[in-house]
């Protein structure tokens, strides 16, 4: 999957899990937990939503490589 598609999938998923996040002004260096305030249940839903839309299943052992928006986009782009 190219980076643009991955970005779109990630943005869409964040929009669903955290509707209050302003996607247009989203800094991709934002940390999912500290900056976007996603708790562990939100994060699980994010992973689930991305899996549904892109088929990229992020296993738990890789959770610590996808702590930022950018990290998530790169992960999806490289495996989708």
């Amino acid at each position: 999957m190219n980076e643009q598609d991955a970005r779109q999938a990630v943005h869409s998923a964040i929009g669903q899990v955290a509707p209050d996040v302003d996607l247009a002004a989203l800094d991709e260096n934002s940390r999912l937990r500290q900056d976007l305030e996603l708790d562990s249940l939100d994060f699980l839903r994010l992973v689930e939503t991305i899996d549904e839309s892109t088929g990229v299943d992020i296993p738990e052992r890789d959770y610590n490589t996808v702590t930022t928006v950018k990290g998530l986009i790169d992960y999806v782009a490289s495996r989708g």
Binding site: S12, V17, P19, D20, L41, R45, E60
Partner: protein, 464 residues
């Protein structure tokens, strides 16, 4: 005949605002039917009827705030109790649209009188309403503005109800927009504030860009979104969102003040060894699709519920000078709402649930709490509460007990820590658990036993 009254939806609730009636005179309601939506200072909740019979009269208009106990509707046992009312021989059209279906029709903006029912005796069914909604030329097909991955076929949620946040509903209400006509772009097609704002723009009302609002800050609704023909500025009341935040703070403040004034708290803290629990969870999760993966909170909540059953001094209510332990463990879970505020609804009988079931209930509860869709009983009866603030980063949290409960458990951040064991130093996943408990009911010794039991139970995660 009985009155349906404004119920108490939590110890801190003094009044509630009628947001929506899901019944009307002439409807037959069963005990347990959801009949109204009520806004407390904290959240918007579905409220069910304790009475069974025919609705004779609605006594409170939508938008009215009344103290708890105020009669909201008159419900007669049989239509004959109140012969003058429509209930006796309800017009056939009304009788053939059950309340949940009419509610759906209302939300979808469909006029049920124009639908030919395909159900029993010509009753209008959900499917009829959904077909009518689909056939109607809407402002935009639901899929048109939906993000990729949220196809039009997914847009109407399975339950038939239009999902929307309380803020979105309030905004729609303020702006006179029928939320059922707004295509939702949120989770599962939920209608968000942004959708309402787009709908307003579509109808030509000026709306300042929402980008101007700092994330997480309350929307000053009146300033940001003047309704058509808005009142002159000097007549504008303080914004509803600000009002709500301050009334939420007042509600929390008054309850916590009461708690601190009347409950002699004592505090304990211990570090729970999560090595076994996390290892077990990671292994279990490897075999699972994302949707059924566990999070550490599920294991921690289950262990807490089991320990609460074994140490009854932390589980129950202190009322009128007497402690009444509860035979069930209804575990309150403090849920932070994304726009500020906190609710602590209950997972019922948490001690008896398998971890998987508890996990699903936790996900469901949190998503409904955030969407403002909690049931009355969930808010009213937790027997002990857990706050899981550690999920967002702090190492330890010392809670304030929700009266009339007698204990609050605080769970910090799960993290790897240096751990000395048998003279060796290693690294383990661990979490700081705290207990705030009521000294009128227990002493530190029992409290310590409770925390120690949580730790012991977590050493055998497969038995949880």
């Amino acid at each position: 005949m009985g009155d349906f009254r404004m119920p108490s939806l939590g110890a801190d609730m003094e009044h509630g605002k009628m947001v929506e009636w899901l019944i009307k005179p002439g409807d037959f309601v069963h005990r347990g039917d959801v009949v109204a939506v009520v806004d407390t200072d904290k959240t918007v909740m579905d409220v069910e009827s304790f009475e069974e019979g025919v609705v004779a009269e609605l006594l409170v208009d939508v938008g009215t705030t009344v103290p708890i106990g105020t009669p909201l509707a008159r419900i007669t046992q049989t239509p004959d109790d109140d012969a003058g009312h429509a209930g006796h021989q309800p017009p056939s059209q009304q009788a053939q649209v059950p309340p949940p279906v009419r509610h759906l029709a209302h939300q979808l903006g469909v006029d049920t009188s124009e639908i030919r029912g395909t159900g029993k005796h010509g009753a209008v069914t959900r499917a009829d309403v959904e077909r009518a909604a689909a056939a109607r030329p809407g402002p935009a097909p639901p899929g048109a503005t939906a993000p990729p991955g949220l196809g039009a076929e997914e847009a109407p949620p399975a339950g038939g109800r239009i999902r929307s946040s309380p803020r979105a509903r309030r905004l729609a209400d303020q702006l006179g927009i029928d939320i059922g006509t707004v295509p939702g772009t949120g989770p599962d097609g939920a209608v968000t504030e942004g959708d309402i704002q787009r709908a307003v723009r579509g109808r030509g009302t000026p709306v300042p860009a929402e980008e101007a609002l700092p994330a997480g800050k309350a929307l000053p609704a009146e300033e940001a979104l003047p309704a058509e023909g808005a009142a002159p500025a000097e007549e504008a009341p303080p914004s509803e969102a600000q009002d709500r935040l301050s009334s939420l703070r007042r509600a929390v403040g008054s309850l916590m003040t009461r708690s601190k004034k009347t409950i002699p708290h004592y505090y304990l803290s211990t570090t729970l060894d999560l090595r076994a629990a996390i290892a077990w969870m990671l292994l279990a999760n490897q075999q699972r699709p994302v949707a059924s993966r566990l999070v550490p909170s599920a294991l921690l909540l289950k262990a807490t519920a089991l320990a609460a059953r074994e140490v009854p001094e932390v589980n129950g209510f202190f009322t009128d000078g007497v402690f009444r332990p509860s035979s069930s463990v209804h575990l309150g879970v403090a849920v932070a709402l994304r726009h500020g505020g906190l609710v602590a609804p209950a997972i019922h009988d948490a001690d008896t649930l398998a971890v998987d079931v508890l996990m699903q209930k936790l996900r469901d509860l949190v998503s409904r709490a955030r969407a403002g869709r909690l049931q009355r009983s969930e808010m009213a009866d937790p027997t002990i509460t857990v706050t899981n603030l550690g999920d967002l980063g702090v190492e330890a949290v010392y809670g304030v007990i929700y009266p009339p409960q007698v204990a609050m458990v605080g769970l910090g951040k799960v993290m790897e820590q240096p751990w000395a064991h048998d003279g060796m130093l290693g690294v383990r996943a661990a979490v700081t658990a705290t207990l705030s408990a009521d000294h009128r009911v227990s002493d530190g010794l029992r409290g310590a036993r409770f925390l120690a039991r949580i730790d012991e139970l977590l050493q055998k995660p497969e038995e949880l």
